[in-house]
Amino acid sequence: MFNIKYIPVPYLIFDRSLKVIETSEDADQIFPPSLTVEDLIDEGSRNKFKHLLEGNERQECELVLKTEEVPMALFDCSFQWRDDACHMICIRKNSDIERLEELVKQHSKRLANTNFELLENKESLENSIMKIKRLSAPFIKISKTTGVVMLFGELDKSLIEVNQNVLSERAFKGEYEQILFDFNGIGEFEEGGIEAFCYLLQRLQVMGIDSSVIGLKPNQAFHFNRQGKELQASFKTNLHDVIHTYLSS
Protein backbone atom coordinates (compact mmCIF):
# COMPACT_ATOMS: atom_id res chain seq x y z
CA MET A 1 0.00 0.00 0.00
CA PHE A 2 1.06 3.59 -0.66
CA ASN A 3 2.78 5.10 2.40
CA ILE A 4 0.97 8.23 3.65
CA LYS A 5 3.53 9.07 6.31
CA TYR A 6 5.11 12.02 4.47
CA ILE A 7 1.97 13.63 3.11
CA PRO A 8 2.27 17.21 4.48
CA VAL A 9 -1.20 17.45 6.03
CA PRO A 10 -2.87 15.70 8.98
CA TYR A 11 -4.07 12.56 7.18
CA LEU A 12 -5.68 9.49 8.75
CA ILE A 13 -6.98 6.21 7.41
CA PHE A 14 -9.42 4.18 9.50
CA ASP A 15 -11.53 1.07 8.97
CA ARG A 16 -15.26 0.31 9.36
CA SER A 17 -14.85 -0.22 13.12
CA LEU A 18 -13.29 3.32 13.21
CA LYS A 19 -9.90 1.83 14.19
CA VAL A 20 -7.03 4.02 12.99
CA ILE A 21 -4.91 2.09 10.47
CA GLU A 22 -2.44 4.68 9.28
CA THR A 23 -1.53 8.30 9.99
CA SER A 24 0.70 10.94 8.43
CA GLU A 25 3.52 12.48 10.50
CA ASP A 26 1.55 15.74 10.64
CA ALA A 27 -1.42 13.90 12.16
CA ASP A 28 0.87 12.25 14.74
CA GLN A 29 2.20 15.64 15.77
CA ILE A 30 -1.19 17.34 16.08
CA PHE A 31 -3.41 14.63 17.55
CA PRO A 32 -2.91 12.58 20.72
CA PRO A 33 -2.26 8.86 20.10
CA SER A 34 -5.67 7.23 19.63
CA LEU A 35 -6.87 3.74 18.89
CA THR A 36 -10.02 4.87 17.15
CA VAL A 37 -10.84 7.99 15.21
CA GLU A 38 -13.84 8.48 17.51
CA ASP A 39 -11.44 9.15 20.42
CA LEU A 40 -10.21 12.23 18.56
CA ILE A 41 -13.64 13.68 18.06
CA ASP A 42 -15.28 15.93 20.64
CA GLU A 43 -18.54 14.61 22.04
CA GLY A 44 -20.52 17.46 20.49
CA SER A 45 -19.30 16.50 17.00
CA ARG A 46 -19.66 12.71 17.19
CA ASN A 47 -23.25 12.46 15.96
CA LYS A 48 -22.45 14.72 13.05
CA PHE A 49 -19.40 12.63 12.14
CA LYS A 50 -21.19 9.28 12.42
CA HIS A 51 -24.10 10.51 10.38
CA LEU A 52 -21.84 11.73 7.57
CA LEU A 53 -19.83 8.50 7.64
CA GLU A 54 -22.93 6.58 6.62
CA GLY A 55 -22.71 7.99 3.10
CA ASN A 56 -20.21 6.52 0.68
CA GLU A 57 -19.67 9.74 -1.21
CA ARG A 58 -17.00 12.27 -0.30
CA GLN A 59 -17.95 14.41 2.72
CA GLU A 60 -16.72 17.81 3.82
CA CYS A 61 -17.61 19.30 7.18
CA GLU A 62 -16.46 21.14 10.27
CA LEU A 63 -15.66 19.00 13.30
CA VAL A 64 -14.35 19.81 16.75
CA LEU A 65 -11.33 17.56 17.43
CA LYS A 66 -9.01 16.97 20.36
CA THR A 67 -5.40 17.93 19.79
CA GLU A 68 -2.22 17.56 21.80
CA GLU A 69 -2.44 21.24 22.68
CA VAL A 70 -6.13 21.84 23.36
CA PRO A 71 -9.13 19.61 24.11
CA MET A 72 -11.34 21.31 21.52
CA ALA A 73 -10.23 22.76 18.19
CA LEU A 74 -12.20 23.38 15.04
CA PHE A 75 -11.11 21.57 11.86
CA ASP A 76 -12.27 21.45 8.27
CA CYS A 77 -12.42 17.73 7.53
CA SER A 78 -12.78 15.84 4.26
CA PHE A 79 -13.26 12.12 4.15
CA GLN A 80 -14.19 9.37 1.74
CA TRP A 81 -14.56 5.61 1.86
CA ARG A 82 -12.52 3.50 -0.52
CA ASP A 83 -13.52 -0.15 -0.07
CA ASP A 84 -13.37 -0.66 3.70
CA ALA A 85 -10.95 2.15 4.45
CA CYS A 86 -11.90 5.76 5.05
CA HIS A 87 -9.36 8.44 4.07
CA MET A 88 -9.60 11.62 6.13
CA ILE A 89 -7.80 14.97 5.95
CA CYS A 90 -8.18 17.49 8.80
CA ILE A 91 -7.16 21.14 8.36
CA ARG A 92 -7.17 23.36 11.45
CA LYS A 93 -9.40 26.44 11.21
CA ASN A 94 -7.27 28.84 13.04
CA SER A 95 -7.00 32.46 12.36
CA ASP A 96 -10.36 33.02 10.67
CA ILE A 97 -12.38 31.76 13.59
CA GLU A 98 -10.23 33.45 16.20
CA ARG A 99 -10.67 36.75 14.39
CA LEU A 100 -14.43 36.22 14.29
CA GLU A 101 -14.54 35.27 17.95
CA GLU A 102 -12.64 38.44 18.75
CA LEU A 103 -15.13 40.49 16.73
CA VAL A 104 -18.08 38.86 18.49
CA LYS A 105 -16.49 39.66 21.85
CA GLN A 106 -16.00 43.27 20.79
CA HIS A 107 -19.64 43.46 19.71
CA SER A 108 -20.75 42.11 23.07
CA LYS A 109 -18.65 44.68 24.92
CA ARG A 110 -19.93 47.50 22.76
CA LEU A 111 -23.50 46.34 23.31
CA ALA A 112 -23.07 46.71 27.03
CA ASN A 113 -22.31 50.38 26.46
CA THR A 114 -24.89 51.05 23.76
CA ASN A 115 -27.33 53.76 24.56
CA PHE A 116 -30.57 52.02 23.76
CA GLU A 117 -32.53 55.11 24.64
CA LEU A 118 -31.52 56.51 21.27
CA LEU A 119 -33.03 53.53 19.47
CA GLU A 120 -36.14 53.70 21.60
CA ASN A 121 -36.53 57.40 20.93
CA LYS A 122 -36.19 56.72 17.22
CA GLU A 123 -38.93 54.10 17.46
CA SER A 124 -41.31 56.35 19.39
CA LEU A 125 -40.54 59.23 17.02
CA GLU A 126 -41.48 57.05 14.05
CA ASN A 127 -44.73 56.09 15.79
CA SER A 128 -45.51 59.74 16.46
CA ILE A 129 -44.86 60.65 12.83
CA MET A 130 -47.31 57.98 11.71
CA LYS A 131 -49.91 59.28 14.18
CA ILE A 132 -49.44 62.81 12.83
CA LYS A 133 -49.85 61.50 9.28
CA ARG A 134 -53.07 59.76 10.25
CA LEU A 135 -54.40 63.04 11.63
CA SER A 136 -53.26 65.00 8.57
CA ALA A 137 -56.06 64.01 6.20
CA PRO A 138 -59.37 64.63 8.00
CA PHE A 139 -62.55 63.84 6.06
CA ILE A 140 -65.33 66.43 6.37
CA LYS A 141 -68.84 65.96 5.04
CA ILE A 142 -70.13 69.14 3.36
CA SER A 143 -73.23 67.77 1.67
CA LYS A 144 -75.01 64.45 1.26
CA THR A 145 -72.92 63.60 -1.79
CA THR A 146 -69.73 65.61 -1.27
CA GLY A 147 -66.88 65.33 1.21
CA VAL A 148 -63.67 67.31 1.67
CA VAL A 149 -60.31 65.86 2.62
CA MET A 150 -58.04 68.51 4.10
CA LEU A 151 -54.44 67.49 3.50
CA PHE A 152 -51.70 68.84 5.78
CA GLY A 153 -47.92 68.64 5.82
CA GLU A 154 -45.72 67.15 3.12
CA LEU A 155 -47.30 65.19 0.32
CA ASP A 156 -45.36 61.96 0.52
CA LYS A 157 -46.10 58.33 -0.04
CA SER A 158 -46.75 57.58 3.61
CA LEU A 159 -49.30 60.42 4.03
CA ILE A 160 -51.45 58.80 1.33
CA GLU A 161 -50.73 55.19 2.30
CA VAL A 162 -51.70 55.52 5.97
CA ASN A 163 -54.95 57.27 5.05
CA GLN A 164 -56.12 55.74 1.78
CA ASN A 165 -58.01 52.78 3.24
CA VAL A 166 -59.91 54.89 5.76
CA LEU A 167 -60.75 57.52 3.13
CA SER A 168 -61.91 54.98 0.53
CA GLU A 169 -64.04 53.17 3.06
CA ARG A 170 -65.59 56.36 4.36
CA ALA A 171 -66.35 57.57 0.80
CA PHE A 172 -67.88 54.24 -0.13
CA LYS A 173 -70.01 53.77 2.99
CA GLY A 174 -71.25 57.36 2.90
CA GLU A 175 -72.31 56.94 -0.75
CA TYR A 176 -70.43 60.09 -1.72
CA GLU A 177 -70.29 61.12 -5.36
CA GLN A 178 -67.48 63.61 -5.11
CA ILE A 179 -64.43 64.06 -2.91
CA LEU A 180 -62.58 67.38 -2.81
CA PHE A 181 -58.90 67.21 -1.86
CA ASP A 182 -57.77 70.50 -0.37
CA PHE A 183 -54.05 71.16 -0.94
CA ASN A 184 -53.94 74.50 0.88
CA GLY A 185 -52.27 72.91 3.88
CA ILE A 186 -49.69 71.03 1.80
CA GLY A 187 -46.10 72.27 1.75
CA GLU A 188 -43.44 70.27 -0.06
CA PHE A 189 -43.96 67.37 -2.43
CA GLU A 190 -41.79 64.39 -1.64
CA GLU A 191 -40.79 61.59 -3.98
CA GLY A 192 -43.54 59.04 -4.50
CA GLY A 193 -46.23 61.32 -3.08
CA ILE A 194 -47.84 62.23 -6.41
CA GLU A 195 -47.82 58.59 -7.61
CA ALA A 196 -49.54 57.48 -4.41
CA PHE A 197 -52.08 60.30 -4.70
CA CYS A 198 -52.87 59.41 -8.32
CA TYR A 199 -53.35 55.81 -7.30
CA LEU A 200 -55.85 56.90 -4.63
CA LEU A 201 -57.80 58.94 -7.20
CA GLN A 202 -57.91 55.98 -9.60
CA ARG A 203 -59.15 53.81 -6.79
CA LEU A 204 -61.95 56.29 -6.00
CA GLN A 205 -62.86 56.56 -9.66
CA VAL A 206 -63.24 52.79 -9.92
CA MET A 207 -65.68 53.10 -7.03
CA GLY A 208 -67.64 55.67 -9.03
CA ILE A 209 -66.46 58.67 -7.03
CA ASP A 210 -65.19 61.81 -8.78
CA SER A 211 -62.28 63.73 -7.31
CA SER A 212 -61.37 67.40 -7.38
CA VAL A 213 -58.13 69.01 -6.34
CA ILE A 214 -58.39 72.40 -4.69
CA GLY A 215 -55.82 75.05 -3.91
CA LEU A 216 -52.79 73.82 -5.84
CA LYS A 217 -50.00 76.38 -5.66
CA PRO A 218 -48.07 77.23 -8.85
CA ASN A 219 -44.97 75.26 -7.85
CA GLN A 220 -47.12 72.27 -6.93
CA ALA A 221 -48.98 72.41 -10.23
CA PHE A 222 -45.57 72.40 -11.89
CA HIS A 223 -44.75 69.15 -10.07
CA PHE A 224 -47.94 67.51 -11.29
CA ASN A 225 -47.23 68.72 -14.79
CA ARG A 226 -43.57 67.73 -14.78
CA GLN A 227 -44.33 64.22 -13.65
CA GLY A 228 -46.64 63.95 -16.66
CA LYS A 229 -49.49 62.58 -14.68
CA GLU A 230 -52.91 62.66 -16.18
CA LEU A 231 -54.92 63.03 -13.03
CA GLN A 232 -58.38 61.56 -12.90
CA ALA A 233 -59.59 64.79 -11.32
CA SER A 234 -60.81 68.29 -11.96
CA PHE A 235 -59.02 71.30 -10.50
CA LYS A 236 -60.59 74.14 -8.61
CA THR A 237 -59.03 77.30 -7.21
CA ASN A 238 -60.29 77.45 -3.65
CA LEU A 239 -62.65 75.76 -1.27
CA HIS A 240 -64.71 78.87 -0.66
CA ASP A 241 -65.74 79.10 -4.33
CA VAL A 242 -66.54 75.41 -4.52
CA ILE A 243 -68.77 75.49 -1.44
CA HIS A 244 -70.42 78.65 -2.71
CA THR A 245 -71.17 76.95 -6.05
CA TYR A 246 -72.70 73.96 -4.27
CA LEU A 247 -74.80 76.05 -1.95
CA SER A 248 -76.16 78.18 -4.73
CA SER A 249 -76.92 75.28 -7.07
Partner: protein
Protein backbone atom coordinates in the same frame (compact mmCIF):
# COMPACT_ATOMS: atom_id res chain seq x y z
CA UNK B 1 -40.41 24.15 14.08
CA UNK B 2 -42.73 27.12 14.56
CA UNK B 3 -42.91 29.42 11.54
CA UNK B 4 -41.85 32.46 13.56
CA UNK B 5 -38.81 30.61 14.90
CA UNK B 6 -37.82 29.69 11.32
CA UNK B 7 -38.01 33.35 10.31
CA UNK B 8 -36.07 34.39 13.42
CA UNK B 9 -33.31 31.82 12.75
CA UNK B 10 -33.03 33.12 9.19
CA UNK B 11 -32.71 36.73 10.41
CA UNK B 12 -30.05 35.75 12.98
CA UNK B 13 -28.01 33.83 10.40
CA UNK B 14 -28.22 36.79 8.02
CA UNK B 15 -27.02 39.11 10.78
CA UNK B 16 -30.11 41.23 10.19
CA UNK B 17 -30.76 42.87 13.56
CA UNK B 18 -33.72 44.94 12.42
CA UNK B 19 -35.54 42.05 10.76
CA UNK B 20 -34.93 39.96 13.89
CA UNK B 21 -36.36 42.74 16.08
CA UNK B 22 -39.44 43.00 13.85
CA UNK B 23 -40.07 39.28 14.42
CA UNK B 24 -39.68 39.78 18.18
CA UNK B 25 -42.32 42.53 18.02
CA UNK B 26 -44.65 40.24 16.06
CA UNK B 27 -44.11 37.52 18.67
CA UNK B 28 -44.82 39.92 21.52
CA UNK B 29 -48.21 40.74 20.07
CA UNK B 30 -49.19 37.18 21.04
CA UNK B 31 -47.11 36.59 24.16
CA UNK B 32 -45.64 39.36 26.21
CA UNK B 33 -43.71 37.63 28.98
CA UNK B 34 -39.91 37.61 28.86
CA UNK B 35 -39.73 33.96 29.89
CA UNK B 36 -41.95 32.88 26.97
CA UNK B 37 -39.86 34.95 24.58
CA UNK B 38 -36.61 33.48 25.92
CA UNK B 39 -37.99 29.95 25.77
CA UNK B 40 -39.97 29.99 22.52
CA UNK B 41 -37.90 32.24 20.34
CA UNK B 42 -34.35 32.54 21.70
CA UNK B 43 -33.72 29.05 23.11
CA UNK B 44 -35.51 27.25 20.28
CA UNK B 45 -33.69 29.30 17.66
CA UNK B 46 -30.25 28.78 19.16
CA UNK B 47 -30.97 25.04 19.40
CA UNK B 48 -31.99 25.03 15.76
CA UNK B 49 -28.77 26.83 14.84
CA UNK B 50 -26.81 24.14 16.70
CA UNK B 51 -28.76 21.51 14.81
CA UNK B 52 -27.98 23.20 11.48
CA UNK B 53 -24.25 22.97 12.29
CA UNK B 54 -24.61 19.35 13.32
CA UNK B 55 -26.32 18.50 10.05
CA UNK B 56 -23.58 20.31 8.13
CA UNK B 57 -25.83 23.08 6.80
CA UNK B 58 -23.95 26.03 8.34
CA UNK B 59 -20.41 26.75 9.52
CA UNK B 60 -19.13 27.92 12.89
CA UNK B 61 -18.55 31.36 11.36
CA UNK B 62 -22.27 31.65 10.59
CA UNK B 63 -23.04 30.46 14.11
CA UNK B 64 -20.89 33.29 15.47
CA UNK B 65 -22.75 35.85 13.38
CA UNK B 66 -26.09 34.50 14.64
CA UNK B 67 -24.85 34.65 18.25
CA UNK B 68 -23.72 38.22 17.83
CA UNK B 69 -27.08 39.23 16.32
CA UNK B 70 -28.90 37.40 19.10
CA UNK B 71 -26.85 39.30 21.70
CA UNK B 72 -28.04 42.57 20.21
CA UNK B 73 -31.69 41.44 20.36
CA UNK B 74 -31.33 40.32 23.98
CA UNK B 75 -29.68 43.57 25.04
CA UNK B 76 -32.32 45.67 23.31
CA UNK B 77 -35.22 43.64 24.72
CA UNK B 78 -33.77 43.82 28.22
CA UNK B 79 -33.21 47.55 28.00
CA UNK B 80 -36.87 48.01 27.03
CA UNK B 81 -38.04 45.80 29.89
CA UNK B 82 -36.01 47.60 32.52
CA UNK B 83 -36.09 51.21 31.36
CA UNK B 84 -39.23 51.99 33.37
CA UNK B 85 -38.50 49.92 36.46
CA UNK B 86 -38.15 51.85 39.71
CA UNK B 87 -36.68 49.80 42.52
CA UNK B 88 -38.46 50.48 45.78
CA UNK B 89 -36.32 48.47 48.18
CA UNK B 90 -32.75 47.33 48.55
CA UNK B 91 -32.24 44.70 45.92
CA UNK B 92 -30.87 41.18 46.49
CA UNK B 93 -27.72 40.47 44.49
CA UNK B 94 -26.92 37.80 41.95
CA UNK B 95 -23.68 37.19 40.08
CA UNK B 96 -23.46 35.11 36.89
CA UNK B 97 -20.64 33.48 34.99
CA UNK B 98 -19.68 30.63 32.71
CA UNK B 99 -17.16 28.25 34.20
CA UNK B 100 -13.60 28.45 32.94
CA UNK B 101 -13.17 28.16 29.17
CA UNK B 102 -16.93 27.96 28.63
CA UNK B 103 -17.82 30.18 25.68
CA UNK B 104 -21.57 29.60 25.43
CA UNK B 105 -23.08 32.46 27.38
CA UNK B 106 -26.47 33.23 25.79
CA UNK B 107 -28.31 31.15 28.42
CA UNK B 108 -26.41 32.93 31.17
CA UNK B 109 -27.42 36.28 29.73
CA UNK B 110 -31.10 35.27 29.67
CA UNK B 111 -30.88 34.19 33.29
CA UNK B 112 -29.22 37.38 34.42
CA UNK B 113 -31.82 39.44 32.53
CA UNK B 114 -34.71 37.54 34.13
CA UNK B 115 -33.26 38.17 37.59
CA UNK B 116 -32.87 41.85 36.85
CA UNK B 117 -36.39 42.12 35.44
CA UNK B 118 -37.60 40.55 38.71
CA UNK B 119 -35.90 43.33 40.66
CA UNK B 120 -32.51 41.81 41.49
CA UNK B 121 -29.23 43.61 41.16
CA UNK B 122 -26.94 41.53 38.94
CA UNK B 123 -23.40 41.30 37.69
CA UNK B 124 -22.77 39.31 34.55
CA UNK B 125 -19.19 38.18 34.15
CA UNK B 126 -19.81 36.27 30.94
CA UNK B 127 -17.57 33.63 29.48
CA UNK B 128 -14.22 32.41 30.63
CA UNK B 129 -13.74 33.76 34.15
CA UNK B 130 -10.98 31.97 36.12
CA UNK B 131 -11.98 30.70 39.55
CA UNK B 132 -9.53 32.91 41.48
CA UNK B 133 -10.90 36.08 39.94
CA UNK B 134 -14.42 34.90 40.66
CA UNK B 135 -13.69 34.19 44.33
CA UNK B 136 -12.21 37.67 44.74
CA UNK B 137 -15.24 39.28 43.10
CA UNK B 138 -17.66 37.27 45.26
CA UNK B 139 -15.83 38.19 48.49
CA UNK B 140 -15.98 41.81 47.54
CA UNK B 141 -19.59 42.12 46.32
CA UNK B 142 -21.24 39.43 48.52
CA UNK B 143 -23.94 38.20 46.13
CA UNK B 144 -26.87 36.17 47.50
CA UNK B 145 -26.82 33.98 44.39
CA UNK B 146 -23.95 32.86 42.19
CA UNK B 147 -25.20 31.40 38.91
CA UNK B 148 -23.01 29.10 36.82
CA UNK B 149 -23.64 27.93 33.30
CA UNK B 150 -22.24 24.76 31.82
CA UNK B 151 -23.16 23.49 28.38
CA UNK B 152 -20.19 21.39 27.23
CA UNK B 153 -19.55 17.96 28.82
CA UNK B 154 -15.80 18.47 28.77
CA UNK B 155 -16.19 21.36 31.21
CA UNK B 156 -18.03 19.26 33.77
CA UNK B 157 -14.73 18.28 35.39
CA UNK B 158 -14.39 21.85 36.64
CA UNK B 159 -17.94 22.18 37.95
CA UNK B 160 -17.41 20.36 41.26
CA UNK B 161 -14.39 22.51 42.07
CA UNK B 162 -16.34 25.71 41.36
CA UNK B 163 -19.39 24.67 43.36
CA UNK B 164 -17.48 23.57 46.47
CA UNK B 165 -15.25 26.66 46.60
CA UNK B 166 -18.15 29.05 46.01
CA UNK B 167 -20.38 27.43 48.62
CA UNK B 168 -17.56 27.76 51.14
CA UNK B 169 -17.33 31.54 50.83
CA UNK B 170 -17.85 33.20 54.21
CA UNK B 171 -21.29 34.71 53.59
CA UNK B 172 -22.48 31.38 52.10
CA UNK B 173 -24.09 32.35 48.81
CA UNK B 174 -26.46 29.94 47.11
CA UNK B 175 -24.95 28.44 43.97
CA UNK B 176 -27.30 27.99 41.06
CA UNK B 177 -26.31 25.78 38.12
CA UNK B 178 -28.06 25.94 34.76
CA UNK B 179 -27.38 25.25 31.11
CA UNK B 180 -28.07 22.61 28.50
CA UNK B 181 -26.31 19.84 30.43
CA UNK B 182 -28.59 20.24 33.47
CA UNK B 183 -31.53 19.32 31.25
CA UNK B 184 -29.72 16.34 29.71
CA UNK B 185 -27.91 14.75 32.65
CA UNK B 186 -28.15 14.36 36.39
CA UNK B 187 -25.50 16.76 37.57
CA UNK B 188 -26.09 16.24 41.29
CA UNK B 189 -22.86 14.18 41.68
CA UNK B 190 -20.97 17.31 40.54
CA UNK B 191 -22.74 19.55 43.06
CA UNK B 192 -23.71 19.58 46.74
CA UNK B 193 -27.14 19.11 48.32
CA UNK B 194 -27.34 22.88 48.75
CA UNK B 195 -26.81 23.61 45.05
CA UNK B 196 -29.82 24.67 43.03
CA UNK B 197 -30.06 22.86 39.70
CA UNK B 198 -32.29 24.77 37.30
CA UNK B 199 -33.53 22.77 34.33
CA UNK B 200 -34.94 25.50 32.16
CA UNK B 201 -36.42 28.95 31.89
CA UNK B 202 -39.85 27.94 33.20
CA UNK B 203 -38.32 26.45 36.34
CA UNK B 204 -36.21 29.56 36.78
CA UNK B 205 -39.27 31.78 36.42
CA UNK B 206 -41.06 29.77 39.11
CA UNK B 207 -38.05 30.00 41.44
CA UNK B 208 -37.89 33.76 40.91
CA UNK B 209 -41.60 34.12 41.67
CA UNK B 210 -41.12 32.32 44.97
CA UNK B 211 -37.87 33.98 45.95
CA UNK B 212 -38.27 37.60 44.93
CA UNK B 213 -41.08 38.31 47.40
CA UNK B 214 -39.10 40.94 49.26
CA UNK B 215 -38.26 42.77 46.07
CA UNK B 216 -40.69 45.56 45.42
CA UNK B 217 -40.71 46.69 41.85
CA UNK B 218 -42.70 49.55 40.47
CA UNK B 219 -43.00 49.30 36.70
CA UNK B 220 -44.27 52.44 35.05
CA UNK B 221 -45.38 52.05 31.44
Amino acid sequence: MHKMTTLFVHALLSGDQFEAWKIVQMYQQHKNSSSDFYEDLITQSMREIGHLWETNQITVAEEHLATSTCNFILAYHHSKRTSNIRYMTERPKAMFLCIEEEQHDIGLKLTSHLFEQSGWSTKLYGANLPLDALLDAAHEWKPDIIGLSVSIPYHLVNLKKYVSQLENIEHQPTVLVGGRLVEQYDLSPHCSDKTLLIKGIKQLEEWLLNNSAGVKVNVQH
